[in-house]
Point group: C2
Chain length 437, copies 2
């Protein structure tokens, strides 16, 4: 018996999962490796971070998604390196051989060299990040309710979101909803509406990858929600209860208990590991450069896709790190593997079909760019809702999320606002559970 | 202006929450103190521990439940002691004065003096316990899938539940469902049906508080699910991957990666703190003895209810630590406070109305005792479902839980089976996330 062609896919995000699924009718043996047992629908992570959805609403077990795909096995484990010459992936406790490797390990937060900031300005990339931010946000309101010193209370009710991309804007918008609607009857000593929400952006516009018409409309909507935008502003320091900003008019300090980081990403360190193993340089972004077949040049057995790949569009611009790019790349890679195994001609070079992009701003507005059309306002929000619901992988999640959203929308409620898993770093704030649970 | 009568309620569980809510039309100022920001519907915690429901499905924010009750404020904080003479409750960072105190702080797990066992046999009392057990269960299957040594694989697929009360039986039943249905197509190298589930009970019957007819029927159902029951068996040692049992026929060792503790409870340590402050002795169970008005004898300003109170029925038997007792006691206390403030006659002594009790066994059976009637089997299961849904506090949760259950029931799916928050103790098993998240 001839052993089947072994495809090892690293990462169960949008790109890796799509690759594995598209290989279901191809005569190969697929091994999907992920550190987690679930696929995460990252675009809605901010909803978990603000208590609108539960983690399980946006995370589907990989085994459940792929249970019927008999040519695919899932391996929960951590990749720590590669032996490219032997065509092997090194896991912590075993070694996997491949004929074709698809690296889709994604990206994590980047603090631009200031990793110490992470303690006070957590990122939003994992379920644990989201439940931790959720705990911080609602704990700040709880502490403010108990606080008698007006200065300290103000500090507790000041929320700073760093980064004016989609995640930052969506987080800030959801925070505005929380303070203006969700919590409005909940407290006796504070008025949640007095919460101050500041969105810090280094450049000259929020959602800067969108056309300038939408950018301006987004900025207006954000300000209507009472959010302060600081453009052209760099973060120069983050410590407990205080951040330092460099603004066009000088240095500013803001006293704040809650800072959230949505400013930068960097690829998974496996990019460096693979690049040095095969003797190439990463792009200055840290991503691995790929050719128009999504291979590392000269290595037709090595595909790199999604946020960890540096892939240039036909006009030489790098593709953005968004789900649709990764999904289209995954599909392309699966087809290329199939075509090459058959011995057919090489497929056309990969071309990203930009079907548009969108971001929400609170509970009633969004901006959307679809082909030549741009939308903003409530219609864009409905469109955003529809498209995101359609994309969520599993049937159950789609209905559950729809149900929860409808309910939350009409009642302004956020039922998942639990303060859980107090970690050691929060112990000084909240004695709660530190001893018993 | 005369200050209102101050009622301080400690604990937002079934008893404390009911007390606070029943005081809504009484001319008092209520302060509800809890370490958590939510009320937990504990009877369904085993569903979270097995991935059937999300934490937010069974936890409602206290502020959300009580938002419209203007005479009630909520204080998230930890009580550390009492000054009974000054009528004060001492929190970690402030002191609260009361005219009437209602202690409803509940109970936690008891390891009968072997607290070291907790590391390897976690309890099931909090949301964090439940998500941690969920992670352990599904991680064991993941590790077994990757394991080549048959002995170690067997160890990974052996699950031991200690304690044959309702929690233990429900956990074991859900584990049987997981291994026989939920995961049946999910793995390529193991057969989840080979999982061995052992239920350890020190006494001679499971669900021993039920009538013997039900007890026998429950034991049959449990065995039909393939669960091994060890009666008259004491745990004498728990260490990593191994437990030691003292059975009627001698000492037995079982190699197992996953042990769950559902064997004993003990009251919150505040029982001891209050008892010694006012110079009384706790009952040998650690609970505070109360009289038929639910007061500590001689202290009409001190009520103790729920799992932390030792309250004897009219025939001298202590009331069990279950939700209906706490709820009825909370209602009684609220009425007693109102009656005394009005200066009316004392109310009748508290009498617990036992409306029945029930426990589920897997996804098709339950045992129920209602008045003189006993049920078992599918009808009892439906009844159990109905009653639990009706009891869940908030409208949204009820529908969401119903929806999720219906879906899970017909598809055998458990969509919330996420392995999250890997804590330090699990790091040796799963390198996953230990570095990056």
């Amino acid at each position: 018996m001839v052993q089947k062609h072994q495809v090892v896919v690293i990462g169960g995000g949008f790109g890796g999962l799509e690759t594995a699924r598209r290989l279901r009718r191809v005569d190969v043996a697929v091994t999907l490796v992920d550190r987690r047992n679930f696929h995460l629908f990252q675009p809605l992570l901010y909803q978990v971070a603000t208590g609108g959805l539960s983690p399980a609403n946006i995370a589907s077990p990989l085994r459940s998604i792929l249970r019927r795909q008999k040519n695919c096995q899932i391996l929960m484990g951590e990749v720590i390196g590669f032996h490219a010459r032997q065509k092997q992936v090194v896991l912590r406790d075993k070694v996997l051989s491949y004929d074709t490797l698809v690296l889709a390990a994604g990206a994590g937060p980047s603090y631009f060299g200031n990793d110490g900031w992470k303690t006070y300005a957590p990122p939003l990339k994992t379920i644990e990040d989201a439940t931790s931010i959720r705990g911080r946000i609602y704990t700040s309101f709880e502490l403010a309710e108990n606080e008698t010193d007006p200065e300290r209370r103000k500090e507790l009710l000041t929320f700073v979101v760093i980064g004016g991309g989609p995640t930052g804007v969506e987080l800030a918008g959801a925070l505005a909803d929380i303070s203006h609607h969700t919590l409005v009857h909940d407290f006796r000593h504070i008025n949640p509406k007095e919460a101050r929400i500041i969105l810090v952006e280094a450049g000259g516009a929020i959602l800067s990858t969108y056309p300038s018409k939408l950018t301006q409309s987004a900025a207006r909507k954000v300000q209507e929600l009472g959010i302060e935008i600081r453009m052209h502003t760099m973060v120069t320091g983050i410590e407990k209860d205080r951040i330092e900003l460099k603004t066009p008019s000088g240095v500013e300090h803001i006293a704040t208990h809650t800072v959230m980081w949505a400013a930068g990403v960097k690829p998974n360190p496996l990019s460096q590991a693979l690049a040095s193993e095969i003797g190439i340089d990463c792009h200055k972004s840290g991503r691995i450069p790929v050719n128009s077949q999504l291979n590392i040049e000269g290595h037709p057995d090595l595909f790199v896709i999604g946020d960890i790949a540096h892939c240039e569009d036909h006009d030489g611009k790098p593709l953005p790190g968004v789900a649709p790019v990764a999904i289209q790349q995954g599909r392309y890679v699966a087809r290329t593997i199939q075509v090459r195994l058959r011995g057919d001609l090489e497929p056309e070079p990969f071309r990203y079909q930009n079907r548009g992009s969108m971001a929400t701003i609170g509970r009633k507005a969004a901006v959307a760019e679809i082909g030549k059309f741009t939308f903003s306002g409530f219609f864009a929000w409905l469109l955003w809702l529809l498209i995101h619901l359609m994309q969520i992988v599993q049937f159950q999640n789609r209905l559950l999320v729809f149900f929860q959203w409808s309910y939350s929308y009409f009642t302004y409620n956020r039922s998942a606002r639990l303060i859980t898993q107090p970690s050691s770093e929060r112990a000084q704030d909240l004695p709660a559970d530190s001893k018993e649970s």
